[in-house]
Symmetry: C2
Subunit: 293 residues, 2 copies
């Protein structure tokens, strides 16, 4: 009954020979425990976090539900392997448009080995992490039933300058086909998806308010996932946009200090989203030479 997720835009994709996540048809997401300490660290985080009385109730909603671990057949054909059992956050979506944004200008933590720091440092400089405070690790956008999903190559989304990032974040909420790069994105869905009382911006601001206070956890190399249903918006309904944090293999204790690295990157991302809402009509001079699709 287990299968490879249809809507994965970042991370290792399960296939023959590759260990990756699996889903079932009841809304569960099985993430293989990585062997090198990252797995045990992520498990420790989920275990501690979900029973942590210091976390405000409304904040739990920004994290996938956690159902323990389960040993199942690994996707790479290597036999039985322990997996985290999590909520499949796109389960209730028909054709989810989704984006994975890795938050923070720095994906490494101070206590890491020099080799690890060097590797991350190089990657942060090559991508937009250092400059923008985040990088778009991947995305997919639903077009039409005929055209299906637009899914730019990851390497084309990770290293954007500010104009290109703004353009891509506009495309993500546009109703005209985003893959046609000479069409100016109309941002037609922005007010529904990014805006509104239950939209992405309000959710991000709620998270920000928590990050301004919480000194419990530091989230390195963690992503925000944004998901919405395009067809719902076009039918005049709410987009059902959700915001979730994922990937906690590098969560550390905060030791009395806020996570200023995550918060800074989150504020930068929020600024991009706000700008699209306050000037949805902004012309797109750079649309033809911006994102290469």
């Amino acid at each position: 009954m287990l299968k490879v997720p249809d809507h994965q835009v970042a991370g290792h994709k399960a296939s023959d020979g590759v260990l990756g996540p699996l889903i079932d048809d009841s809304g569960l997401f099985y993430k293989p425990l990585q062997n090198d300490g990252r797995g045990s660290n992520e498990l420790a985080f989920y275990t501690t976090f979900t029973s942590d009385a210091r976390i405000p109730y409304h904040i739990f909603g920004y994290f996938p539900k956690f159902y323990g671990t389960k040993v199942i057949e690994a996707s790479d054909g290597s036999g039985l392997h322990p997996h985290l059992v999590l909520q499949d956050i796109v389960f209730s979506f028909e054709n989810p448009s989704l984006m994975d944004i890795k938050i923070g200008s720095r994906t490494w933590f101070p206590q890491a080995s020099d080799d690890y720091i060097d590797k991350c440092f190089k990657r942060d400089r090559e991508t937009s992490s250092l400059s923008l405070g985040f990088r778009i690790s991947g995305l997919q956008m639903f077009g039409t039933k005929d055209s299906g999903f637009w899914k730019p190559q990851r390497k084309l989304t990770q290293n954007l300058n500010s104009d290109q990032a703004k353009l891509l974040l506009r495309k993500f909420v546009s109703s005209n086909m985003p893959a046609e790069s000479d069409v100016c994105p109309d941002s037609a869905l922005a007010s529904n998806v990014y805006g509104g009382f239950t939209g992405v911006l309000e959710q991000l601001l709620e998270l920000k308010a928590w990050f301004e206070k919480q000194t419990i956890y530091h989230f390195y190399s963690c992503s925000i996932i944004i998901v919405y249903e395009k067809e719902e918006v076009l039918n005049g309904k709410s987009s059902g946009a959700i915001v979730k944090l994922v990937d906690f293999a590098h969560v550390l204790e905060g030791n009395g200090v806020i996570d200023h690295n995550f918060l800074g990157g989150l504020c930068s991302f929020i600024k991009f989203i706000s700008e699209i809402l306050t000037s949805p009509e902004e012309n797109c001079i750079s649309s033809t030479n911006g994102i290469r699709t």
Copy 2:
């Protein structure tokens, strides 16, 4: 008429053979233009910034006033040297208690040379910049007319963990003599200096609100200076606490992105100040083994 400032806690101090800032008796501060590009960069910043119509009026108040440049006799005896002419921000204070906090977990900018980045990177890790998002570059606190100023060595304030930083920030607003490290700081001046409508916290929050929006400048290796008059508080008056940004030798263009590095560090500092206000009575278990005075 020029003399060495009485109340300098960070940076090069003018003396025979050392080029440093000078003040006059009319409230002006003469900062020697550094030769290696930093001087011209800081001059360019002041020139552009002070006539930048995009800066909200109330934000100018957080920067020293700028009066151009002047060639005067250098403090190191080397002859005539160009100086920035700035407002002496402690001019109106009798016995200023003051603190210099370098903001940001990262003091280097991405475009810098590898050597410069390595140097700053090492320093950021050795000090509390990387962990706290700021480092206290120096401070002085007025005790009494007899005891004068308490001025811990800079190396003792730059590398604090969160408990030590909290303790030092409490000491800075305590009425019992802070140099006696076995006395628990009473935080007696906290509500006057840090709190209140015109206190430090409100000023920091106003700056934060601007940094959440502004994408014009990125302030690397820039400091916040906090100054107040202890005697005024003890006499039941307002502390006259001021908050100013200083040191703009490494200001860069923002290119459409907020200064997430500065903002993250500022939010971390704000969290410390807020905590002292919300729990001024917190015991000081670590006071005897905290800051070494």
